[in-house]
Amino acid sequence: MAHADTHDHHDHDHKPAGIGRWLFATNHKDIGTMYLLWALFMFFLGGAMALGIRLELFKPGMQWFDPGFYNSLVTNHALIMIFGAVMPAWVGLANWMIPLQVGAPDMALPRMNNYSFWILPFAFTLLLSSFFTAGGAPAGGWTLYPPLSLQAGDSFPLTIFAIHMMGISSIMGAINVIVTIMNMRAPGMTLLKLPLFCWTWLITAYLLIAVMPVLAGAVTMLLTDHYFGTSFFNPAGGGDPVMFQHIFWFFGHPEVYILILPAFGIVSEIIPAFSRKPLFGYDAMVYATASIAFLSFIVWAHHMFTVGMPLAGQTFFMMSTMLIAIPTGVKVFNWTATMWKGSLSFEPPMLFALAFLFLFTIGGFSGLMLAIAPADFQYQDTYFVVAHFHYVLVPGAVFGIMAGVYYWLPKWTGHMYNMTLAKWHFWVSTISVNVLFFPQHFLGLAGMPRRIPDYSTQFTDWNMVSSVGGFVFGFSQLLFVVLIWQCARGGAKATDKVWDGMMTGLEWTVASPAPYHSFTEAPDLTGVADSHH
């Protein structure tokens, strides 16, 4: 792409010393690293809770936990994975890569960047401290539906304030992404030259600003209903609990796209790189992402078909939901067409991107099944829903994160990693994730409800299979940690381009490891052609 001299030879990489470097961090690379390590830590904490769930469900009957604690595990597993792991992992990748991809020296608002990160440990300390309160941690599900969620004990205000803090953190992160992409691009880096990771993150950031305040508003109203005598959601005082569900899912459905859109971006960069062909339909990818984001605001009630909506409402939400399959289909088609007649190779990032392509699509199909209102009456609140969203979130969003880490890790550390170990991690994860989640489709179709610690005996076999898959998947993630640790400590020297593929982004023009300060003078891309037009 650009032939700008971006190696910053005159730069003396002076990094602040000691703990202050991290506490007062304003460097996008340091903040990115902290976000990513935080996310990894949360993956293991949320993962430990998930293994607790699979342990209890290995056999019918109550084995390990009392039902209240089991429900706390389910609730906190979801809150930790969504707000503590997947979202911070995306913000970490955004911090590391967006300035490098747009040719900027740093994020536009470095101090706000520091606050966004450091809010998180406080938020999660608050959330987790609720395990030690009278009545235990929140147990009404991550969806916090009243009146159930209002039955929580002293944990309730802790949970609400934790969610407020997470919301503030991600809104500040989103603002930073938007202003960095809008105002800090190198000269000549027009919007339609941006790498797709920047595009999908830009659109994600707008979604975040639009819906995190809605969640904050909903939980604020729960708080006032609980402590200040309002009755927003209390029929006895003229309120309506169904209104909570509308507000929650007006946030909740865009939220699930917040979790997946950046993965679309990463996959859209990795597949061309390792197919050695420009992305098929770059502009269509941008417009498809924007359409998905727009449609995500008008489908929310597909989560509430069973509340008793008018037929017209059911029909509208069923149709609008199915419309999302069109831009999603455009994407899957374009990824496939990019590989068509390409010169493919299967390095770890490409393996994860391909697994994403197949397995995310399975989740998309089960989503379409759930979108059919009369069918959803059967599926609602069964393990079929659990299977659906875990397919889109684990081999979808989480594999997207892993693909990104495997793609850029040598750029961060300056070392290649252990390819054999990476392939083991890939294959064990990919096989076990299917053993873990595929049987949950069968369980759901057979009628097993979600969010229960016990079940009737005809569900035993597939639950055992699922639990075995869960433990293999969980423990195989230790391979990932070992690999990252080794790669941070040493290994073969990575070149600037890192991969023997079609590497087009500006990040491949700086040294590996990326210098502490990069693009202190903006590269000039005026008149430089991009690879995709």
Binding site: G103, M184, M189, I209, M212
Partner: protein, 45 residues
């Protein structure tokens, strides 16, 4: 597509960035307050 908004002048870019950030922050606060007010109206009619 034009690149008028790109970073030709770092000082001006940062000023524009701060202004846009302020607008986006105000939008977020307005949405928060707006949704609560809307619910107040909904619950009190």
């Amino acid at each position: 597509m034009s690149d008028n908004d790109a970073n030709h002048d770092p000082v001006a870019s940062r000023r524009k960035a701060r202004r846009l950030a302020l607008v986006l922050g105000l939008v977020a606060i307005a949405l928060y307050v707006g949704f609560i007010l809307m619910s107040v109206l909904q619950a009190s009619h």
